[in-house]
Symmetry: C2
Amino acid sequence: MASGLGEASDSAACPFCAGNENMTPPEVLVLRDEGDPGRLSSWTARVVSNKYPALVPEVSGPEITDENYTARHGFGAHEVIVESPNHLVDITLLGEGQFEAILRAYRERMLALRADERFRHILIYKNQGIEAGATIEHIHSQLIALPIIPKNVLEELAGAKDYYQSKGRCVFCDLARKESQQRERVVTENADFIAVCPFASRFPYETWILAKRHAPFFERNTPQDESALAALLRETLIRINRCLSHPAFNYIIHSNPIDEKGSDYYHWHMEIIPKLIRVGGFEWGSGSYINPVTPEHSAQSLRQALP
Amino acid sequence: MASGLGEASDSAACPFCAGNENMTPPEVLVLRDEGDPGRLSSWTARVVSNKYPALVPEVSGPEITDENYTARHGFGAHEVIVESPNHLVDITLLGEGQFEAILRAYRERMLALRADERFRHILIYKNQGIEAGATIEHIHSQLIALPIIPKNVLEELAGAKDYYQSKGRCVFCDLARKESQQRERVVTENADFIAVCPFASRFPYETWILAKRHAPFFERNTPQDESALAALLRETLIRINRCLSHPAFNYIIHSNPIDEKGSDYYHWHMEIIPKLIRVGGFEWGSGSYINPVTPEHSAQSLRQALP
């Protein structure tokens, strides 16, 4: 990984920079590049508990209810995946090998947390840039393990199940196949993965990445999958940067809830949302989204963003 | 209404300022202050079609479908309620009488659009400030009439119906009564309306305004209701301004979908969302919201924001 290039200036005070490891809670995972003993840092990616967690594993207890309201304690896990030892603020400055390390860190933490039977769902997401909700600029992503299956995931599961019951096929498999044939909304693809601006998407340049073969669980990716995904994710984010002048963005990994076996109808995928427009009263009131850029136009622009 | 105070400087180019009426599409409603013939402007509030509409009444035609996707034309109405003839950027600079005129404009347009049988739901909302999605600073709100009942409204209706079937009472009536008794989450109230920071609300300082008596339809407000609501809404927004240093905000009117008679279980209300935090990957992925300020604390701060 290049050092110096793209680094911001305030690494001395940054809790995610190499050398400042004592500024974070203890590590739950550290990845090291065994093939590079001469490197400056002793780690390539590290995962720590969030210092300001939304949910914590230590609390428990009964629900609190009165006649009208029910509350429960904020049980869960909230971790931070530090994506580089260097003070970079844009993930695309990393090489493919470092993207692979990040995807491996996601997988290893998901597998470790699955072992805790209290968890029912694990959500991994990245906020890059202030507009996307980041409060620390050093590149990182986050993991939240929940004792419930959240609303948006339940809705997506129900929609996928309906489709499966009506057609006998996984809707995400169909989407990947149809888009790959039709080309109009494809950003880029390789043998294993495809990046598309989905039909009727909510946001300008919203891009999803899907495996071409049926795959309910992100955490069952093989190292070969991770290598192919790392290349496609990095290329897609570079296209977004070039096309849209380095926008803030979120990405979210949607994976099957934790259970013994994966479903035939649900298929993990990654949703990338560049933060280009503000969500206003119409969207909050309706749950519908006014998207001023068609996905067909978004995909075409992203296809043209690299030679 | 005071002129000069709080006015921004660029009214010459503003399509919503008095004198620039020819910069907007034709009026669908104009309100005038008949008691003040000496006033500078000939109108107090005006409603026009949105010059850049998300939906338009002129299109129609069949759905467009293929094997996987269904689209329909963007049929609907999209109107702008200009809230003052003067170039104000903060609605709280208006007096109660002008708030009443705005609420009356909402009601009159909802009643007029109900007559078109193609519409099933009408949503009124306000985006004040760039962070809230406003693209023109001159104070205004918007109305969108839809040929469908949107997702968020369907979910709210379903939840309210469940509650009614289980308890035999309207959940919003119960909420207003319970909060008024308990006081902890009340911002302010008068004889007819109450402003509360709801239990388990999504956002810091999120505030809802509800009628104390059961009222499914916003557009059935009487002039007396509008007078009481104008006073409470203005006071609530002033409290938010003082407490939070004039944040950008959205408000959204949730009203019963258009049908012959109102339901026993649904009750119109207004949701006010100050834009204080960014929505990030966790919220987009889960549909749950991490709110760093409890509604109890929010309500206490808003109660203390005025002597």
